[in-house]
Every structure is written in structure tokens, then in C-alpha cells.
Symmetry: C2
Subunit: 356 residues, 2 copies
């Protein structure tokens, strides 16, 4: 039985970002410096008119070309450590930017390097006050208690799982997702769908997580099996579904898809969300109904999946994919039981990857 902590304060609605000042503690409005970490997608400055920037505030654009790394988090933290510590950190972007904001907040208060805290409940004290602002819906990073980073030295992809990783506040502003490219909108939205089907198919059960997952799935079905997934109404609904999916996953576990997708990220640098979709599409034997539904959604939205990703790789690459997948024991055991290695042999795992 786990004491569950969720983000307890949020502002929701079209244009909510412009009211960010209402979410910040009063102290930061007067004297303190606020740091805005913004996805480089907005490097053209198009977000700045929406932000109530004060003289002392700093804006850093985050390069999210690749998945976040521990080195990247350490570098940003070092840059911020050279000055007086900021009063608040705002992460404005997708899962990568929000995860980096969460990690930097924790590091500024706890010291050390990002890799020191990869694992479960290793963060000792609360981070700097942090606000999450998704500009694309699906990852649930705005609501989850983790921030996932690649650690190339250790050859792993793992998060700082901790109650301290949760954002203090969240802004859900559907205006911000109006400019998301079509394919990316679909792949990232599917992250919520995949979280929830994995969670509901697992052995580990949590009644509130189940309720959140069921509702998030209902919304995903409405959005992605219909006409225009990017309408104002559906963009707002997908933002809610993402928040619910993130809340669910904080009390449950993913299944087979996320470990395989983490393997793709580690070895082939595939981005998380499109990687999830590629993996799901090769999982007929484990999630037959969901794969079928996913393909109908894809058809309905006319989004094509990259093909042939893992064909013709060297044996050493299949070995690396296997290693980077099988290391995720908790979700694999959630899906298949403690004996998951007897099902996911090297040959089986390689066969699944070859289908992608």
C-alpha cells in the first residue's frame, strides 16, 4: 500500500499560461529569479509574449533533438548553480523538457549528479518549486513522479522515481498544442493510450489508477477514432487524458511496450513516443485487441508508421537491444510474471524487434 501523491494544484483552460503568475508563490513575484526551461521548438520566441517575464527571470531553450541525458541535466544544473538559486523552475514543452525541468529542480536542492538519483526514492529533499506546462499532450510527464533520462555511461534509461519529482503546479493550456505537427501529435497522444493499456493489462492493480486509465482510454478512443483529432475540443480533451494517464501510471506500472521502446531509444536513438507506437505495432501476440484498435486509429488519422527500423542490424545490435529491454524487470514482471525471462528469451526478443 503506497501513500499516493499527485499534483494538487493546476490551472486549466485556453490561455491559462498567461496567468502563470497566479500559480507562483508570492515570494517569486517580488524578488526571486524564475527560470523558464522552454523546448527549442519555440526558439523563435513565439511563446515569450505569453509569459509575464520579469527583469531577473532567465529563459533557457532546451535542445530536445535527442532524448534527455544525465549529462544534459548536469550541464543545465551547473549553468544555474553558478548564480543564486532560482525561486522557481518552469518546464514548458513536451515530456523531454518537463522531465529535464523536474530533474534540474531536484538536483539544485539535493546536490550531486543526475545519475545519483536514477532509481526509486533516492531524492532526499524537495526540489526548487516547479511548474509543468505541457505544449504537446500524451507523455503524462506533467503528472508523473518520474523524469526519465538516458545514462549512456551505465547503458540505461531510467527515471528519478520520487514524490519530490512531482511538479508543485501544472498549467494545462490547450492553446499551446495548436502548432504541434500532425504525426507528432498522434504518436505522442498514443503514449497515453499505451500507458493505460499496459497498466490495465498488468498484474499490479490500483483502483484509482484503473479509474484514471479507463477514462483516459475512453477519451483516446473518442479522439483518435474520429475525424479531426486536432480540433480545439479534442486538443483540450487529449490534454486531460494525458494528465489522467500520467496520474494513473504514478500508481501502477507499464508493461511490455515501454521496455522494448526504451531498448530502441538506447540503441537506435528512437524517440520515446514514436518508439512506443512502433513497438505496439509488433506486439500482436501480447496485446491483440489493442494492436488492432491502434491500427484502426492510425488508419482513421492517416498517420504512417516508420517501417524497417530493426531489419538487417548486426548481431551485436540485437544483443544490445535485448540487454536494454530485459533490464526493466518491474514492468516486464508486471506484464508476464516473475518468470518473464523464460518467455522473453533472446531469440524471442530479437524476433519481435525484427518485426519493427
Amino acid at each position: 500500500m503506497r501513500l499516493t501523491k499527485t499534483v494538487g494544484e493546476y490551472l486549466l483552460g485556453f490561455g491559462a499560461l498567461q496567468q502563470v503568475d497566479r500559480l507562483l508563490p508570492k515570494s517569486t513575484r517580488q524578488s526571486g529569479e524564475r527560470v523558464y526551461l522552454i523546448d527549442h521548438f519555440f526558439y523563435d520566441g513565439s511563446l515569450l509574449p505569453r509569459l509575464p517575464l520579469l527583469k531577473k527571470d532567465r529563459v533557457l531553450y532546451i535542445d530536445t533533438t535527442d532524448e534527455p541525458t544525465t549529462e544534459q541535466v548536469d550541464a543545465i544544473t551547473a549553468q544555474l548553480r553558478s548564480d543564486a538559486p532560482p525561486q522557481a523552475i518552469l518546464g514548458i514543452g513536451g515530456g523531454s523538457t518537463m522531465d529535464i525541468a523536474k530533474a534540474v529542480s531536484n538536483l539544485l536542492s539535493n546536490g550531486g549528479s543526475a545519475a545519483d538519483y536514477q532509481g526509486w526514492d533516492l531524492v532526499k529533499v524537495p526540489g526548487v518549486f516547479k511548474v509543468g506546462v505541457p505544449t504537446i499532450s500524451g507523455t503524462g510527464a506533467e503528472a508523473s513522479r518520474t523524469c526519465v533520462m538516458m545514462n549512456h555511461a551505465e547503458n540505461l534509461k531510467l527515471g528519478m522515481n520520487s514524490d519530490h519529482t512531482l511538479f508543485d503546479r501544472v498549467i494545462l493550456d490547450p492553446e499551446l498544442t495548436a502548432t504541434v505537427p500532425r504525426n507528432q501529435y498522434f504518436f505522442t497522444g498514443m503514449d497515453t493510450y499505451i500507458h493505460c493499456i499496459e497498466s490495465l493489462a498488468g498484474r499490479y492493480r490500483h483502483a484509482l489508477a484503473d479509474a484514471f486509465s479507463h477514462q483516459a482510454l475512453a477519451v483516446c478512443r473518442e479522439i483518435f477514432l474520429s475525424g479531426n483529432m486536432q480540433s480545439d475540443e479534442y486538443r483540450e480533451k487529449l490534454m486531460i487524458a494525458s494528465f489522467l494517464g500520467g496520474s494513473a501510471i504514478g500508481n501502477s506500472l507499464v508493461g511490455l511496450i515501454h521496455p522494448f521502446s526504451a531498448g530502441l531509444s538506447m540503441v537506435l536513438h528512437t524517440h520515446h513516443c514514436v518508439g512506443n507506437c512502433i513497438v505496439l505495432n509488433a506486439m500482436d501476440e501480447f496485446y491483440p485487441r489493442e494492436v488492432e484498435e491502434f491500427r484502426r486509429m492510425q488508419e482513421s488519422q492517416r498517420v504512417a508508421l516508420p517501417r524497417g527500423l530493426c531489419q538487417g542490424l548486426a548481431d551485436s545490435q540485437y544483443r544490445a537491444l535485448y540487454e536494454a529491454t530485459i533490464i526493466h524487470e518491474k514492468p516486464l514482471a508486471n506484464a508476464l510474471g516473475d518468470d518473464f525471462r523464460s518467455i522473453l528469451t533472446f531469440d524471442k526478443v530479437a524476433e519481435i524487434f525484427r518485426r519493427m
Copy 2:
């Protein structure tokens, strides 16, 4: 656009109450006094073995024969004020007990009388640390930002609507609902159903509240249209639905049923939850599909509704019922528009009450 605050920390599961110490701030475990306000249903002491009572702790049983009143809250607060202020207040019971715990917590910090804070956002500073523990599911009091009290001097039934009214922590322990009498289980569970149908039928929309309401309704349908509504599984699910319904209503508004039910409480001392059911059953013209579904649930669970409640009343009583109903402008306007008085004339309101 409202900054939403919800209960951010909760412990969920069979037997969770026995772990209440994990939810209390450390300071209260060492020196402070904790006050347990417990519904008089447990006056036989049957809950005490589940509580980690310390020497200084106090247990007060709350008489919930009638709906909570401002006088009752003032009396309990005065009793607690005579000693050093408690470090934490735990409200263990149904909506009445939890609402009293919330009100007492606010009063101990803010001074004055309960009636001073009936209304919207009148509570100035955070109350004493408070934990909600429902022992019956449905009211959503464990998650809502209000605590409703009858104020007989002012002839109104109104809550302290405030972010400070929210519990700091909640314990959801389905073991506690095992002893609820069958009819009361049904009527109280229906409070969630009614919250959600009212919220979804209103003009005021909030995307997250809608998501919570849809899921809570799906769970209510599963539980009450099926066989044994009081099975372990369904008791756990109803506890979740109640929490979701309470979270929804914090971001939305009720409709016609709650104002009429408040009228019944004020004039005829009808309890909130059975009152809601009686009102819903007379609302065919406003909620036709829901009334039909409600009757199927009643049939499925073989629960009879009190009849003839408002037949043969004096004219002055119909007038009092009308006044106590029509005063609830916000929910009535949410349901019918600002012009609600042209629909809900005295004759119309009296006609609806006569059907009950």
C-alpha cells in the same frame, strides 16, 4: 478560469486506516494531540482497535442523527478551544462527520463562528492539519472544497466553500464500508451518481471535472445495475467513484436536485442522500434518462424509496420549501440559465414537491 486545488495525498486500500500514522506530519506523532471526530455509528468502540491512539489523543463521537448545523460545529470547536490547539483533526465517518471535521479545523485557525464563513472563499488562513476518512461512500466530502451546514437562524443550508476546506490527506479504506446498512449504502452511493449527472447537464463546463464525472458514472452503473453492490470489489470501486465525484464537483456545479434536496433538509429534516434520491425520482421532466436509469438501479438493488413525503403539507410549508430551494441561485442557473425563476415558479416548485 479557476486555480484548482485537490487533495494531493491519499492512502488507498483494504486496511489503510491502520496506517494512518504514515499520513500525519511527524510533529503530531511526537508531542501533539490529535483529535479523532468519529461518527456515532461507531460509538460501540469498534473502530478503536484500528487507530494508533496515543495518550494525549482525544476521541469525540459526532451525533449525525440530523444534518450538521453551525451551532453543532461551534459547540465542538468551543470544546476543543478550551485546551491547547490540536496538531491534527481526523474526520472518520460519512459526509456529516467529515464536513464537521473540515469546519472545526477551519474555525480553530480562523476564529469566530461557523456562520461567518458560509459562502465562497471567506476562510482566511489554512485550518489545522486535517485528514478525511470516509466510512460510507458517495458524498464526495473526502475530496470536495466545501462543508455544508444548516444555519437555522438564517434559514439556509450552505457550505464553507474554500480551498482551505480541502482535507490535507485522505484515507480510502474499503474495509470501513463493510458494515453500512443496505439502504443507506444505496442512497449515499447515489449522491455520487447525482453529483455527476447534474454537473454534466449544466451550462458550466470544466474538462477535468467532466472526465471525473464520466468515469464516476461508469463505475456507478457497473455497481448499481449489477448483482451484489456491496461486494468487496464494488465497495472499493464505489469509494473511488465517490472520490472522483467529489473532485469533479469542486470544479463544477450541481443542478436542480441538490437545491430541492436542501429544501427538504431545511423544512422536513430529510437527510441529504435519501433526499437527493427522492428529488431525483420526481424530476422526470428535467432528467428523463437519468430518472429512468435510477429506477432501474433501484429495482436491481431492491431498495424502496420513502413515499408521500410532501403530501398534505400546509401552504406555509410549501412556501418554506420553495424559499429554501430557490435561494440556491448558482446551481439553479447552471441547470436552467439565469432566467431560472421564470421556469421554477412557486406553483411549479410546489407541484414538484407534491410528487415526492
